[in-house]
Structure formats: structure tokens, C-alpha cells
Symmetry: C2
Subunit: 288 residues, 2 copies
Amino acid sequence: MRNVTKDNITDVFSSYFGDDTDPRVKEVLVALARHIHDFTRETKLTHDEWRKGLEFLEWAGRITDPERNEFVLLSDVLGLSSLVDMQNSNPEATSSSVLGPFHVSNPPALEVGGDMKRDFEGEVLLVHGYVRDTNGDPIPNATIDIWQTAPNGLYSSQDPDQDIHSFHGLMTADEEGRYTFTTIRPVCYTVPSDGPVGEILNAAGRHPWRPSHLHYIVSAPGYRTLVTEVFPSDDPYLDQDTVFGVRDDLVMTYVPQPAGSFPDGYKLSGKVNDAYSRVDFDLILAKQ
Amino acid sequence: MRNVTKDNITDVFSSYFGDDTDPRVKEVLVALARHIHDFTRETKLTHDEWRKGLEFLEWAGRITDPERNEFVLLSDVLGLSSLVDMQNSNPEATSSSVLGPFHVSNPPALEVGGDMKRDFEGEVLLVHGYVRDTNGDPIPNATIDIWQTAPNGLYSSQDPDQDIHSFHGLMTADEEGRYTFTTIRPVCYTVPSDGPVGEILNAAGRHPWRPSHLHYIVSAPGYRTLVTEVFPSDDPYLDQDTVFGVRDDLVMTYVPQPAGSFPDGYKLSGKVNDAYSRVDFDLILAKQ
């Protein structure tokens, strides 16, 4: 097309594809260009705004390194990560929710009933549940990768004062599908806001907070791997998670338990006679 | 909103804005999120495709430096740059067209009738025209910044064998609005295709070629600055410019001229008795 205009440019873009292009590549790229073009026309985007957008991407590129990925964070705060999670979830299984950037490889083994908090101090939380299939039947011996923030609001990879494996654990559920462990109740925290994504949040009058949560990756042979989180029902940021991760079925009551009521079969030491909280959270996996 | 779903996520995104957010910031960000969400739902984007998109942006970030901006190139091959140009053009003025990444600062002065090719060899092109307002009246003494590829298809900033100012010139049009100079006819060339944008072109079965052109930035007090290009009507890539820069009013016939017909008043030396080509291209500026 020799005379490209603002009205025909999407058609011209489509006409450039080779005849033997993979149909899915063409579908995704044409949809991407169409939405970029429609966005540009609808907003009557100016040259200054276009340049600002490009400078934003350049800045995100400069600040991204193996420890920090500003593009993932951008996807998170725009709701893209959560939308991809939601539309690839099985509605009969536990909802999936953002993986986030703080998972570490080779987490240490955590036995059923183990203590993930190790030497950290704070309010003890007993986490308990079953891994089940969509019929409600237990799945034996599923692998559960668990991680969370330390009481200071930082994940181990953000905090030079923590061992890289602190508040990370890899558990094999028992024959009945049961998993359980003790930890310190996680706290709400902010996503990194000192880069270009922070500038977007600031311009939008948005806070950078996430409600507190425990992360899970649950896998078992023959089932779709589940990446999810569990949130306490009394968290002040539950209605305004800056990365859009909260779903109804992931919100659980953390039930206060009186002093002296701690059950047997746990590795918890020291605080075993204090009051604590308990959350029950079952993990429902869909077949592959 | 506590229960974010794939259907309400755009509304939740909108609800997060602070009350005193700049209305234009909100308009642009909500439109951006809405189109990203619609794109994701329409294509049923998978986790693998989402990750591939993020890896693409990370790669573009790594390859971008002061000499090469892969995000601008991405904007170019998606048609975004041209669309922003077109919708910010005045329809009564000469169409604007992509600036591209090869303009250099402090171009050397080029007098009216000067020779921009200096010692380079090739087919001589005489470029001639007037700077006019939208009524057709000449604008005296406009500033015209001109640049193009060398005969090897490279701009000076891409080519260690060229002086950084080769094939760049800054002219002041005369009292009658006339500008003219001699050069070597520019050649068609490819955009950089060894990075992530090249991978997109390859996956789409698209070539990386641009039709040959001369770049202009034209400015005069009281008028909107014009960034544009002129293309020859016989270029093989006129219908498939990979950055969508061609507009009808920017395509001109490069008219062959017989040997011995070269006019007076030019600095051209050596080739003055050979055949050459001539293009007439007027530059119409809109009032500010």
C-alpha cells in the first residue's frame, strides 16, 4: 500500500504478512497492532506522549536485571499478569494468582508439620489443608512450593540480612493429600516503586501495596500445576491489591486460637504455649 | 474490588485512580489498560505467549543504547510511529513522516545550490523546491535540515568509514523560499534486523526494507515544524515500506536529465556535464 493513512494502517500492517506465516503468530500480531492503533487514534496520542512512552520503556530496560524485572512489574500493575492467570485457570480448580518475581530455585525441604519461620519472631500462623482433585478426592504426595515475606516485609532475595532460603519451603503432602506447617504470619508490603512503574503509580494516585499472602506452586503428576496465593480476610489492602491478585476463593479467615491449644505433631518450639492463628486452605488441582 | 475477575479487571483498574489524578493521565492509562485487556481476552493469550512477550521487551531493553533504540524500531515496524505522525499532521500541509533514528546534531551548513555529496561517487540528483505556507505563498529563510544514506545504504552514524556529518546538511532557504542542492541519489536500505524486532519481522514473513528517501526537518518562526521524507516514484519498496512512511504527497518523480543540461548556480564539480536526475519537492508548512 503506497498511500498509508491513519484509517488504513491496520489493514496495511495485515497485508505485509507472508503467506506461510504461522496462523497464531499472525492472529496475535494483528490483534496487537489493531489495539495499539485503536488506542493511538482514540486517545489522539501526541508526539510528546509517544516519546514519553518510549522513554518509559527505555528506563524499564535499563533498570531490569536478573534480580528485578520492571517489565513483569509493569504487567502486574496493569492487570495483565492477573488477566493471563485468570483466563488460563480451570474454573473448577483453585484460582491461580500472580507468581511474582520473588520465587527462588532450590527451596529447602520442609516436612509436613515443619516450621518455616525458623528463628524469626512474630505471630505464629498454623497453615493446614489438603490437596484435592475437582471431585473433592485427595491427591496423595503432591509437591507444594511455599514462600512469603519475612516480618520486615521483604522477601529473602530483596534482603541482604536474610538467608536466600528463609521463608521458602518445599513440601511433599502426605498420602491423604494433607499439608501443614507453622510460620510467622506474612505482612502486607509494597512493590518496588523507585523506578518507572512507581512513576506510573504515582501519576495515577495509586499506592504500591499488596495485601499479605502466602505463595504456592502446587504440582502433581497428571494435574495442571497451580500457582496461587492465600490472603487473610481482614487485610486492609484486600480491596486494592496493586497487582490485582485477590480472588474470592483465595481469601480465608485466619482464626485466632487460644494459648495452650497448640496441637501435637508439629516441629514448632518455644512459642508452643502462646496464642496463635490458624488458616485452613485446600488446594484444588484440575486434571491435565 | 476484592473479587477481581477477567470480566471486571478493567473497571477495577479504573477504580484505583486517585481523585486528583490529571484527567489526561487517567484517560491515556485507562485506554491503554482497556486495550491490553481486550487484546489478552480476544487472543486468549497463554502464559507461554505472555512470557515470550516479556522476554521480547527485556531483549529490546538490553540491545538499546545511545546509538540504537530497539523500542523506537518496534514502534516503527508496528506502524505506531507513522500513525502518531499522521494524526498530528495538518492536512493542508505536507504530510509528516518518520524521523527515524539517524538524524545527527550540529549538521554542517549547506548553502543554497551546495553539494551535499562532497567526494562520494554515484548518480547525481538535483533537489529543488520551495517552502510555502498553506495558501501557496513562499516562506522566506526557512531552516531545512536534510539527511540521507550514503551510496552503501548506511547513514553516517551506522558507518565507521563515514564522517559523522557526511550526507547531512543544514540549509537556510532564500528570500523567495527556494532551496536546492545536489547529492547522490539515496538508495533503499534495511532497518536493523539482528535483534528482537528482526525476529518479529522474520516470524511475520516480512522484509526489513525501506524505499529510498531524503529526510527533512523544516522550521520557520510562526509555523509548525515539519518532519518528512521524499520518495522516488519508481522505488521497488514504495508499496511495502517496513515502517509505513510512504504518503501519496511525498512520492515524486525523479526526472532523468540529459548530459550537458546542468543549470548554472550550483557548486557541483566534475560531473557537471553528465546526465543526472532532478526532483522538485515543495514543503508546505502550517501556521502554529
